[in-house]
Symmetry: C2
Subunit: 241 residues, 2 copies
Amino acid sequence: MMASPTADFRRIVFANTLRGCQLFTGLPAEDLDLIASFAVAKELAKGAYLFHEGSASEGFYVVQRGAVNVHRVSASGKEQVISVFRTGQSFAEAALATAGGYPADARAIEDTTVLLVPKADFLGLLRGRPELALRMLGSMSQHLRVLVGLLDDLTLKDVDTRLANWLLKRCPRPLPRGAIEFQLDRTKRVLAAELGTVSETLSRALAGFRDKKLIRVAGKSITILEPKRLDEILRRNLGEL
Amino acid sequence: MMASPTADFRRIVFANTLRGCQLFTGLPAEDLDLIASFAVAKELAKGAYLFHEGSASEGFYVVQRGAVNVHRVSASGKEQVISVFRTGQSFAEAALATAGGYPADARAIEDTTVLLVPKADFLGLLRGRPELALRMLGSMSQHLRVLVGLLDDLTLKDVDTRLANWLLKRCPRPLPRGAIEFQLDRTKRVLAAELGTVSETLSRALAGFRDKKLIRVAGKSITILEPKRLDEILRRNLGEL
DNA sequence: ACAAACCATTGACCTGCATCAAGGCACGAC
DNA sequence: GTCGTGCCTTGATGCAGGTCAATGGTTTGT
């Protein structure tokens, strides 16, 4: 826990986090202030669970610092990552409007601070702010789209294609002709889970791309040597297979 | 197109359909009437497309009669069913609140009538009806949950398990000790697609269950001989594998 | 600094399932 | 009738990728 700030200071810090949140950009300051007044900060150590599937929903969350992994766990213990939320992103809005608890699990994958926006208070505010309700709708549509995209990834492509797709998402547009290097911010095991596979298979896929001179890998640094060629290969895979 | 009714008659029929819709149950009659006043009926022959992925969104839909299949198509032409909507269900709410068109394709799988609730009109109404916005949020959460469930089905289980799960969903609860017979309302090929596989594999899975004396299959009629035993097997598969 | 975990990589193996191919049934068209 | 055309079923084959196991590298705790 951080040292307890005064109430005013707390409000200011919270409102600042909320302003940075996609969901609330452009919202009048007094509304932000109001939300900040009933938001609750929660500190999570790396690995700690925020909530489990089925547990009663207290509200939705905004990430202030760190990262939260939202996932499902099968009866056999396998974990499918649904999404990873980082600073400024909001999640679990779905639990606001329906009974029945959270539909997935959420766990901090780094030391993390989240703001909990309690259900009852926020619903009260929403009643008087249809504008805000529309934003919530928009945010949920986004999540829906992400899920639909994930469905695609998992059902319609093989691992090589999913990896190529993922790599290309990290490239600036339009695709540069030169090489691009970036740092991996998660372990490869986690990346593998996001791609719906296991670390061994990811390792092989990376090795395959390396052998084809498409990328260079050194620890957490990945260099995409020829983005254009990678893109061509991706398109060809999608088109023919 | 149906023979054009008088404006009043049209309103009454539409409002009636809307009342039957989960999304609008309990809504005051004047609101229903207002929505009915700007809703537009669309007739779709079996097989006709309502919209395609990416096309600009006109609004969301309520099924009045028939059934609509919402799905994604990969570049290779494979189709993954996301959901099938029938009389009284609403879909494509996600397109309301965000730009960027519909995120999937929708096609009538029977002769169908849908009501289109146009985006602009409805958003206008929403601004003055926070209560209604909350319902929309609820409805979208439901869709989110369905998608999450679908994710589970596709990633965490093998075909046998998915089929067992699907069969058990058709059983009344609590599970009766006797046999249950029901008629399949789609072709097996379509069912296979919903389960994320192809007809040959589904055929084999059904044959496997038949050999284990779990079910009997005769054309479109399926009899679940021992629901309890099927349930046990499902649980065991989930637990151990 | 040392041990204990954890991560990453590679090889060997094996299984589930998509694919291809062929044959049997049903249905509507002519 | 009989000729498609589409659906279902079964067999044979191939392959992607999950699992197990061994090794070496890296981080964490004490």
